[in-house]
């Protein structure tokens, strides 16, 4: 059998997906072919065939090696960004679905504050509104699904990039093809079922089985760069869609925080919650120490209770701004990913620092939100 020892491929002109004519290829030697015997013939006798094959391979995919490391880095950043953004959007859908309970509580309390005695009766959110909220939640979930599908495409890209053609050819041939195909499926789902990338043709798979590592490397490079462009296209589509709907999402966050704040104020007015949940963070923020017995002082002071109520309303404004900031950070994360897709395309390298910074901020805000909700954040850390 042929033993193939991969050597660095020396090329001019950087990484390009444009086919390089075999006659102009500057590839010095992709592999050193060591003598061996197949059926009594020295394999060196097939060298002319291999030269032709290598030339054809260069024409197929250019000369440079597959940009596996930067593609992996980009794919990981993409997974993080889509994971965090998806979490934020799904939170919104969940809150829409769960709004009825707090809403019914608030409206009934308000009715019972009326001087008209017969007004005090349980008042559940009208079914029509409940159906509308659930319908809107379904639409919001569709956006989260699109983000998740983009995450699946990054996952397939990561798998493709993780496949080391030169060191694990035989064992990984199948997984490389599966990876390319699975990306095709993931990309197709981003494009309404229309395929972005054809599956790896059977005859190419057969060639890989024969150990044409250099061909596999070219094909992998071609696949990665093509995947880079097609994922970037999907990111752009998603980013533009989310940007177009920005105003809807901004009002929705305000709407939901408004509902929650109204219910919290009822809890507060009815003295079902301790004023210290508001007072203690305020004292911390002002760097002052509360005296012992502060809680009973607040309970007996209408002025203090009114002042704390104002603080609660101010806090809800901050909550709205934070939620809106997370949505904007999600879009900024997609923008940052787009820049890195461009870098991979033009320079063959990526610097995902800005993606990481934006996503870290988003995750920190999500973690804070989850803590407030008594839940664990499910964003990827």
């Amino acid at each position: 059998m042929l033993r193939m020892v991969p050597l660095p491929c020396k090329c001019r002109g950087g990484i390009s997906d444009a086919p390089t004519p075999a006659s102009h290829s500057t590839c010095v030697s992709a592999h050193r072919i060591l003598p061996a015997r197949i059926g009594g013939f020295r394999v060196m006798s097939i060298r002319p065939f291999l030269c032709l094959a290598l030339g054809a391979m260069a024409a197929l995919g250019g000369c440079a090696a597959a940009p596996r490391a930067p593609a992996t880095t980009l794919a990981e950043a993409g997974l993080k960004a889509t994971g965090s953004f998806s979490t934020e959007v799904r939170n919104l859908a969940t809150q829409l679905r769960e709004a009825d309970a707090a809403d019914s509580f608030t409206r009934t309390w308000e009715l019972c504050q009326s001087p008209v005695a017969e007004a005090c009766a349980p008042s559940v959110t009208p079914e029509r509104l409940s159906i509308q909220r659930n319908g809107l939640a379904d639409v919001v979930d569709l956006r989260a699904n699109a983000i998740d599908q983009l995450g699946a495409a990054y996952s397939a890209l990561k798998q493709e990039a993780a496949y080391d053609q030169s060191t694990d050819l035989q064992g990984a041939t199948k997984s490389a093809i599966d990876s390319a195909n699975s990306f095709g499926q993931a990309a197709a789902s981003l494009n309404g079922g229309k395929r972005f990338i054809p599956a790896v043709p059977g005859e190419v798979g057969a060639l890989l089985d024969f150990g044409f590592g250099v061909l596999g490397d070219r094909l992998q490079r071609k696949r990665i760069l093509r995947a880079n462009r097609e994922i970037a296209q999907a990111v752009l589509q998603l980013r533009n869609g989310m940007q177009n709907e920005l105003e809807v999402f901004l009002t929705l966050t305000d709407y939901l925080v408004g509902k929650r704040t109204a219910a919290r104020l009822v809890f507060y007015d009815a003295q079902l919650t301790s004023p210290m949940t508001v007072m203690t963070p305020l004292a911390d923020q002002l760097d002052v120490t509360l005296v012992p017995g502060a809680e009973s002082m607040i309970a007996n002071s209408p002025a203090l209770r009114t002042a704390l109520r104002a603080t609660m309303e101010a806090n809800s404004r901050v909550e709205v701004l934070e939620a809106q900031g997370r949505y904007r950070a999600g879009i900024a994360g997609l923008d940052a990913l787009l820049r890195q897709h461009r870098e991979l395309e033009t320079k063959g390298g990526v610097t995902v620092g800005d993606v990481e910074r934006i996503i870290d901020q988003l995750n920190a805000s999500l973690a804070k939100y989850a803590t407030k909700q008594g839940d664990k954040p499910n964003a990827q850390q």
Partner: protein, 115 residues
């Protein structure tokens, strides 16, 4: 006259709901009949329904009738703000909010129609 954008329309609809929701508790405290209570609740629910409808649909149809609806919604909302600022009686405020409900409803229906 500059034409309104889909976001302008969504904003006026959302603000109309938000204001009515924020005023609901005080309005109910001032209500003296079950009819007034029902009217206050119906107005807020109708505005909330219009907002949820608007959030789901794209309010990007264009035309002079849509601009007229947008202007009517803005004027009706301003009239409500004025009524509250001037401390008008609840009955008068309810009537003013009902006018916003009608104006906003028309805006959503027409602006969401396929051009």
């Amino acid at each position: 006259m500059p034409s309104s954008s889909a976001n302008d329309r969504l904003t006026v609809i959302y603000k109309a709901y938000k204001s009515a929701f924020a005023r609901r508790a005080d309005d109910l405290k001032q209500a003296t009949t079950t009819e007034q209570i029902q009217a206050v609740m119906n107005n807020v629910d109708a505005l909330e329904g219009s907002y949820l409808d608007a959030a789901r649909k794209s309010l990007d149809a264009t035309g002079p009738d849509i601009e007229a609806c947008y202007q009517a919604a803005q004027s009706a909302t301003a009239a409500v703000d004025k009524a509250y600022a001037q401390g008008k009686a609840l009955a008068e405020r309810i009537t003013a909010v009902s006018a916003v409900v009608s104006a906003v409803g028309s805006l959503v229906t027409k602006a969401a129609a396929v051009a």
